[in-house]
Symmetry: C2
Subunit: 356 residues, 2 copies
């Protein structure tokens, strides 16, 4: 493992190269994250290209049309089927509770869907979203960018190969000061109805889903607590702490946390019977993952892999659409997390462990 | 803080220098830890000195008498008051359930007590132990060596000074493969009656107590899960995961874990509103604490402080005995953890959050 680590990180293990024409993507919902991260990533990639952007704001439409050379639509136009010849797939990046109608529209137009995480604001609505795509015969990917991060994928291989023995435990944290740096206090992330939850839904899903992905096991039970001492977060969880009992041979436990305030922090650790993996800047968009792997054979540290997981994310989706390849973070994967998030909320409210 | 860190770590902030004669210590229970860590630490210190050792094994008595130049007694001799003129205090390092009778004997002889953690195998027995020392008017210190670790004490000051803002969260793990490296499968740590619990009691108490110490808050509620997939641990918890809700202004949460098998690991993290502290080799006896402090002012990394916390532990105790200074890890401090451990076991059994 130690010799092959860096070279393997450079490889896109899923890439057959069999994509002749870029997959054209309409972005529905053009908030800050879509504008600053997702659209540039599509533009930078080899297999995806942004061709349409949907926004309710005329200024945003004008800016995006200019910056990314896309056809800019309002929501009525999108619903009515404007410019459907100009895109093959839809990237849904609206507030969580609006994922369902926009994905339904995409499915109705016969367009494939890549939908931001979590899939929706409730399990029931997420199930309807998955069913709409299934019924229409379009592909659905849940936009878990960490699953296409080259470093994370290499760590998954290392774990699957027994590199740290059996996984015993994970730790993870994503603290994102959502109101720091001029963050809008009226944003949808703080609206329970639109978001479904607070730090748990927006950032807590990262350590949970990434640990699932790297270890290859799903949650079997959860216990959680939430707290919102700051009145700005009166509708949603400001802080959440979750203990997830995972399935697998002997079972194992993940202790995860997320916050909407505090010092920015993203980290993930996996402790095994024979080793430890620690990742700093684990979930920060486009960040250099700083990785430490400790086993009896020695300690490996690496950084500077230099790959952008969001570029890979849209290329991965486009590659799957173009070639028919399987999508790992599919609707079913997204639903596992939706059910986990609901169980976390139930546990936090009752103080009891909840089985899945 | 950044300039003064290393120099401050060298200081013993509690040391008045007002100790004329070393405090003579009888060690009761001479297992591997006492022989390899505690007795050498007493011998190396300035204020404590080993003068008596109590063991049930004739070979151990002979070896210790030779190696540390101590009077070696059997348990009958200790009980009967042999050599009481040769020691001022007793270090109790037997299996947990034997702490009470040996501390009672010390108190009956008018000797001060430093007792290994956790204080006993049950809350009720620990309360009797504390009462026995109180009634006899002798000092009692719970042997939390991390509370005398110079690096940990400096971090506590930094946190108290607002160095990372308000504490929001802690993570900690102590994984100690108790059967690795020829560990005895018949040892008392795997005996529920003698130990009171498994990984939780033996090593889980480290992250819990150290987080309490550094942050200055006590547990208000716990939720926990334990598991013992390996039949070697059928009487005790092989793995434990604990979420502790701490008091304080806004409250905060610690996610702690401990294991009796797996890759050796000790670590502690504190996340605050304005910074993060991470300590590697956090609880390893005599290890170099590798510390990272991240704030908006920059990142500070330090290691190589070179102090042995167990030498400091016995000197701290001896200094308090000799000068009458307060002992922070006193019986009351040890009882807080005993009640927390009991609540953890109750929560793991019921699946419910337990308030303290």
């Amino acid at each position: 493992m130690f010799d092959s680590t860096l070279s393997a990180i450079g490889e896109r293990d899923w890439d057959t190269g069999a994509v002749d024409e870029p997959v054209r993507i309409a972005t529905v919902g053009c908030g800050n994250y879509a504008r600053s991260v997702s659209l540039p990533a599509m533009a930078a990639g080899a297999y995806a290209t942004p061709t349409v952007a949907v926004s309710g704001d005329p200024d945003t439409r004008a800016t995006l049309a200019d910056e990314f050379d896309v056809t800019a639509l309002d929501y009525d136009g999108y619903e009515a089927g404007a410019a459907t010849d100009d895109y093959d797939a839809v990237y849904v990046a609206t507030p969580n509770r609006l994922h369902l109608p926009h994905a339904e529209t995409a499915a109705r137009h016969g367009k494939h869907v890549i939908c931001e995480k979590p899939l929706e604001a409730t399990v029931e609505r997420a199930e309807r979203l998955v069913a709409a795509c299934d019924d229409a015969g379009v592909r659905l990917m849940t936009a878990y960018r960490m699953q296409t991060d080259p470093v994370v994928r290499r760590l998954r291989e290392f774990v699957a190969d027994g590199g740290i023995g059996a996984v015993q435990r994970a730790f993870g944290d994503f603290t994102f000061p959502v109101l720091g740096g001029g963050g809008d206090p009226d944003q949808w992330r703080l609206d329970r109805e639109l978001a479904g939850g607070g730090a748990l839904y927006d950032v807590g899903v990262y350590p949970i889903n990434t640990a699932r992905f790297v270890a290859g096991d799903d949650p079997a039970a959860v216990s959680a607590t939430t707290r919102s001492p700051d009145p700005a977060f009166d509708e949603v969880d400001q802080h959440v702490d979750v203990r997830v009992e995972f399935g697998g041979d002997d079972g194992w436990v993940g202790n995860f946390s997320a916050s909407f305030s505090g010092q920015f922090n993203t980290e993930l650790e996996l402790l095994g019977t024979d080793g430890r993996i620690a990742v700093r800047s684990a979930f920060e968009p486009g960040a250099d993952r700083e990785v430490t792997v400790e086993t009896d054979a020695g300690t490996l540290e690496f950084a500077g892999a230099g790959a952008d997981e969001t570029v890979a994310e849209f290329d991965y989706f486009a590659h799957a659409v173009a070639t028919g390849a399987a999508v790992e973070p599919d609707g079913a994967d997204g639903l596992v997390d939706m059910r986990t998030l609901a169980a976390v909320q139930e546990s936090a409210a009752s103080g009891q462990r909840v089985e899945l």
